[in-house]
Point group: C2
Chain length 366, copies 2
């Protein structure tokens, strides 16, 4: 972000998006993926905003990735014609009928990580949907969250095809890339898991069209021989995690939360309090992070505590504390949480508000 001021007409706390930086980030990732001949399918849970998805698709993304059926509905409503729900869905009659409706409107794919989930989907989805959708098997590449192990892959693929569904490929999320020094090894794990899973399935006679990897830290490190597509999300905005992991620089930060100094204390503990608390910044703080976010224009400051409407910010000894009423720009630790906490963001260009975007998929948890 450039060092523009916070527009006076905004009441804090407010989410600001710097359009020029956003556009640059979108173009840079698209170019990097094109150079590696990997399909870019950005994860839009990060922003939940159709206007940003449109920028990504215009820049060459092959489709979108979402986490929930509700997000898929929002982006299909906005005109996206190719959506991957990168999540191991356990369908019910109600959610299966929503997938039936989605499959009539767009190219649809989704995840499973067990034979039971595949058979459950096959039993609940309509015939036309079963023929149309792609089912991708989630593979555990070391994050140990959801995802199948190598020995269960063939059984899952048999359940997929045996239920009248089409195997669309394999996918993984290398969540262990979000640690200092973790991106390189996690990217290697990711490629090895996808390539290994595809080989096992192909050896058993299955076609594996997509090998889909995720995560912004690992995306630019992806081995071009391993992945057919990548699903980074955070890269559009950047955040304090990416900054402290040195995956991006300050110039790559496209989103901040504007906060006002509402309380100021020269006595110990020497601090100011901003009105941007966890109800707008999100409360994530990895053990390796230096605090609950960073101040864009004060790299020396630390957010040492966060409650719902208070961010406690400390400065080094001798540094002058900002005055009461000062408005500061906070870079959140994990930007995906922020967009789920507000209804709108203010789009800025050279210090002026030029647009207001609605966070259309906010709260679409199911």
């Amino acid at each position: 972000m450039n060092r523009t001021f916070i527009p006076n007409e905004l009441t804090t706390p407010a989410v600001l998006v710097e359009r020029a930086v956003l556009v640059r980030n979108v173009a840079a990732m698209a170019a990097a993926m094109a150079a590696m001949r990997i399909d870019l399918r950005p994860h839009v849970k990060t922003h939940k905003i159709p206007e940003i998805a449109a920028l990504q698709l215009e820049a060459g993304a092959v489709g979108l990735t979402v986490a929930t059926i509700g997000e898929a509905e929002t982006f299909a409503d906005a005109g996206c014609d190719d959506v991957f729900i990168a999540y191991p869905l356990w369908l019910t009659a109600a959610t299966a009928s929503r997938l039936d409706a989605l499959a009539r409107r767009c190219r649809l794919s989704f995840g499973v990580d067990s034979p039971e989930a595949a058979r459950n989907a096959g039993a609940l989805l309509g015939r036309a949907t079963r023929a149309a959708v792609g089912v991708l098997i989630e593979v555990d590449s070391g994050h140990h969250r959801s995802g199948a192990t190598a020995d269960s892959l063939v059984g899952i693929a048999e359940a997929v095809t045996g239920s009248g569904l089409r195997l669309g490929g394999v996918f993984t999320f290398p969540g262990h890339s979000y640690t200092p020094g973790g991106a390189g090894p996690a990217a290697a794990d990711e490629a090895a898991a996808l390539v290994g899973a595809a080989r096992i399935l192909e050896d058993a006679g299955f076609d594996v069209p997509r090998r889909s990897g995720g995560s912004t830290p690992s995306a630019l490190l992806a081995d071009r021989n391993g992945l057919t597509e990548a699903r980074p999300g955070v890269y559009v905005f950047g955040d304090a995690q990416q900054l402290e992991l040195e995956r991006i620089g300050v110039d790559g930060i496209a989103l901040c939360v504007a906060g006002t100094v509402v309380s100021r204390h020269e006595s110990e503990p020497r601090r100011v309090i901003l009105d941007s608390g966890s109800k707008i910044l999100g409360g994530d703080r990895p053990a390796w992070a230096t605090g609950f976010g960073r101040l864009l224009d004060h790299p020396e400051a630390r957010i040492t505590a966060l409650s719902e409407h208070h961010a406690t910010v400390t400065w080094p000894d001798g540094a002058r504390l900002p005055e009461l009423g000062a408005r500061l720009r906070v870079v959140p630790n994990h930007v995906c949480l922020v967009l789920n906490l507000v209804d709108d963001v203010w789009v800025c260009d050279e210090g002026a508000v030029v647009d207001r975007w609605s966070v259309a998929a906010r709260g679409r948890n199911y």
Copy 2:
């Protein structure tokens, strides 16, 4: 909560409120405060739901506490006639005019913790508002967030009255009560800070009508000679923090998040994954907590990791893992965050959905 099932018609993740427990919790706190002759002014940032505020007011609450001007507007819209914004406001022309409008509709009070904030409010608020509102000085009782120290109180009170505003009293939030064994000492700190601040101000010739304390852990421990009012919030629902701090029992839990087992792994790490992640549970995890929430019907289980749409749950060796598709009830660590993440809650009675309440003040961050 009683051991009822999750209604079949709900798609997970979903927030369930057990009406009978909620009503009991509301009545119990009202009775306890009445017995201590302390005015109950519940903090409605916990629920953000007018229907629950109405229950609290019917049970004898003297008014409501909110954290933001936006919340005050929502509850004034819903008919509440006495609202305290328990926050050190730094006003702008825009927010001052919103307070002017609010002061015409309800009894209004708000906080400051500096002479500058008091003078700023005096300069921006209309004459009628200055005469009508009560300004309470926030005191630091040991949480070291916002709040004035003893030596600055008289200067702040002079700035309040010198700006044509009325001193409404003093308030504090003993946030250090949210630790094991912390409630007792924090309640003592709270009473001492309020009584001490009131004495300093009264000795200087000021009238101090309200001594207002906060926090559910300390509310029932409040020294009846110290506080004139209390502002607990979490007591309406309870949460896993209160459970693990032993401030409530399982019978007092009135809210849970229903989640579905979408992934199940007998191999190490042995676990199931629920679809209720941090985008509905909130991500708070104090260092002393055993995990990111608790399972209401499985006290032996632990939520060892949480990402946006995944809760990783582990069971002790030998215990049987729940099956894929099973629906489990999760008690969030910090319930105030949950209500800021959903648009609606499902009100249940004996296992059936009997109502759906809108979270009217969700996202009212300013």
